[in-house]
């Protein structure tokens, strides 16, 4: 088991899939000659050439549509959108073409593309380069939405996404590309549905996804060491479809739930998880579920305001203690 950085894991998945199948391509802004903003495609241009590692114009809706069209005739594109904020421009093609084509063609045509893009708030990138859009994508029927919290998942989700016959939207995170973690030496395909128990516990379930899994893990540590509360951390790596059974199973064990999300709370992951808890296991609850979410503001530039916008492990701890009346 090798320890890789998140970006190295992503790069390895690209490399293996491109070596295996000449119809796997990758495309995006600056991914070829320049090597990729986050190095996710470093060296692939020299290895596979300009026909398969495609530097696109800054035309997000256009090139996303080109990838989708290519997938109609057997190509397996991995489309990089440099920042999730630019994915707004590509919404028409992602939603109206990729997500809907299987259904509206009666199952004749599919768009097996992987669209990967970093979201989240990094360091003072301002309102138009800091955002999370998972709430938008997870509501779209016909699109799979996953979000890796570590290098193993980042690697395995691309591997599975390239081979899956559905369009797969992968939310990465600007702050996580240098995170290290173990990745299997052999091929590994991460499931595109389900959830993982990142830390078992019995007193409360902390639900996180992508970066907020790490807030939950840190919070669980503090809660165990300082407060005698054994928190279970559930990694919701698949946001669409969400793992209803996994959510219900954990809450039925701990009887309490806190959902940590980097995005603003309205119509988001937390809201959806709470609805699932209500529908699946309401009578198992010992306390009302709680969300720990970002403030509902465009992300501010000022460092202090930016930090005040995004939750932290400490906010998760505070929410749990309040739930326990401490």
């Amino acid at each position: 088991m090798a320890e890789l950085m998140y970006w190295e894991a992503i790069r390895r998945a690209h490399d293996e899939e491109m070596a295996r199948d000449p119809l796997v391509i990758c495309m995006g802004e600056d991914i070829g000659v320049a090597g990729g903003t986050y190095k996710a495609t470093q060296g692939l241009y020299d290895k596979y050439g300009a026909e398969r590692v495609i530097d696109t114009p800054i035309s997000e809706n256009g090139y996303t549509g080109v990838g989708i069209g290519a997938s109609f005739v057997g190509v397996r594109p991995i489309i990089e959108i440099m920042s999730v904020n630019f994915a707004w421009l590509a919404l028409d093609q992602i939603v109206n073409s990729a997500a809907k084509v299987r259904y509206m063609s009666g199952g004749q045509l599919t768009a097996p593309v992987v669209i990967r893009t970093p979201g989240g708030t990094a360091h003072q990138l301002g309102a138009q380069h800091s955002a999370r859009m998972e709430k938008v994508f997870m509501g779209i029927a016909g699109l799979r939405v996953v979000t890796p919290s570590n290098p193993r998942q980042a690697y395995g989700m691309i591997k599975a996404g390239v081979r899956c016959n559905d369009p797969v939207f992968i939310n990465e995170h600007e702050l996580m590309y240098n995170m290290k973690g173990e990745v299997p030496d052999g091929e590994y395909f991460h499931p595109l549905e389900g959830s993982e128990v990142a830390r078992p516990g019995k007193d409360v379930t902390l639900f996180g996804y992508n970066i907020s899994v790490h807030w939950c893990l840190q919070a669980a540590d503090v809660l165990a060491k300082l407060h005698g509360i054994e928190a279970e951390v559930v990694d919701l790596y698949a946001l669409s479809p969400l793992d209803r059974a996994g959510i219900a199973e954990s809450v039925s064990k701990t009887h309490r739930a806190v959902i940590a999300e980097e995005a603003e709370p309205i119509a988001g992951v937390g809201a959806e998880v709470m609805a699932i808890i209500n529908e699946e296991c309401f009578f198992e609850l010992d306390a009302a579920p709680v969300r720990v979410s970002a403030a509902s503001v465009p992300i501010p530039f000022n460092r202090t305001l930016e930090k005040a916008t995004i939750p932290s492990a400490n906010d998760v701890v505070t929410a749990v203690l309040k739930m326990f009346g401490k």
Partner: protein, 333 residues
């Protein structure tokens, strides 16, 4: 360049007349409430799809278009009765009743769909051309859209990419002078659409879209250019739709005089009169043909659509995602 033979012309006249009667019958079925939703009809523009696809290889080349798509689908090989059943929302329809008039698909015949977002097919067509080039086939990708689609950003993004990557895609612009209910001179700075292509360094030509012989000649040149690997090509066909944008359109924005002028240039009648004048067809033969087609549509197409079953409600969620895809569970173990 070859000329259309008399046999070709007779075949095309039959097909164009069939398309005309098919669409008129759709109109009636809509009024009878057999067809719901939106319905965009093709009469007036028949020579465009017919002329271009006569010069291409329908069924082999990949074709994609907007929402005025019935005739393009049929010319690629989609059985008319399946297209009509789709309009009726039936399980036997081209898209199993899930798509409707604007979303006819027949992937077997490489008709890659009708799309409702104006300008949506541009990048998809370029992507298909990218796939063709990678796989080394001799197919071309053909994108039929209207003039109003050229006011979408996707037009510019797509033409640019088609050219920088030298992809085998033919853009056919059916310029019918209206974007929904707004006349082109009120929405578009440059009225001749082929002139807008000069920023993308590809051949672009404008011809009369009402005369099948003219369209066929121009299309041969365009198709040969693209198929020979020289890159993309833009062909503008000046045309006119005889009905409103869709069935919900009162058509009040057009002058009667303008409609009457264009009615004189009816593509079906231009071809008919040419055949009659050359002594290759009589008016009686034409009338008999028309009668035969109307009967065919009634007995072979409408009847099939009416008698076909509805989709099952239990299958509402079928076709949203791939069924039993092993990679969803982490790969084939």
């Amino acid at each position: 360049m070859s000329q259309l033979s008399t046999a070709d012309k007779k075949r095309l006249l039959r097909s164009m007349l069939y398309a005309r009667r098919f669409e008129e019958r759709c109109y009636e079925a809509y009024v009878e409430r057999k067809i719901g939703g939106f319905l965009h009809l093709y009469p007036g523009q028949e020579a465009c799809a017919h002329g271009v696809l006569a010069a291409a290889k329908p069924g082999h080349d990949y074709v994609i278009t907007g929402y005025r798509d019935h005739v393009h689908a049929i010319l690629c090989g989609a059985p008319p009765k399946e297209v009509m059943a789709e309009l009726f929302g039936k399980e036997t329809g081209s898209s199993k009743g899930r798509g409707g008039s604007m979303h006819i698909f027949d992937v077997r015949h490489r008709f890659m769909g009708g799309y409702a977002l104006v300008g949506g097919p541009f990048p998809l067509a370029v992507g298909m051309a990218k796939g063709i080039k990678m796989k080394g086939g001799d197919e071309i990708s053909i994108c039929f859209l209207g003039d109003a689609a050229n006011n979408q950003g996707s037009f510019h993004e797509s033409l640019n990419m088609a050219k920088i990557w030298q992809l085998p895609v033919l853009f056919v612009c059916e310029n019918n002078l209206y974007g929904i209910g707004t006349r082109i001179d009120r929405s578009t700075a440059v009225l001749d659409q082929y002139k807008r292509v000069c920023g993308y360094d590809m051949p672009a030509k404008q011809v009369d879209g009402q005369d099948i012989d003219v369209v066929y000649q121009a299309a041969q040149e365009a198709v040969n250019y693209v198929r020979s690997g020289k890159g993309p090509y833009f062909l503008e066909l000046k045309t006119y739709r005889y009905r409103g944008h869709s069935m919900s359109d009162s058509n009040a924005y057009r002058a009667k005089e303008e409609e009457q002028e264009w009615a004189k240039r009816d593509p079906v009648l231009i071809l008919r009169d040419r055949l009659i004048k050359a002594g290759d067809m009589t008016q009686d033969e034409y009338s008999a043909l028309d009668k035969e087609i109307i009967g065919e549509i009634e007995n072979g197409v409408i009847k099939f659509a009416e008698e076909s079953p509805e989709p099952k409600v239990e299958e509402l969620e079928k076709y949203v995602l791939a069924e039993n895809d092993p990679y969803v569970r982490g790969g084939a173990k």
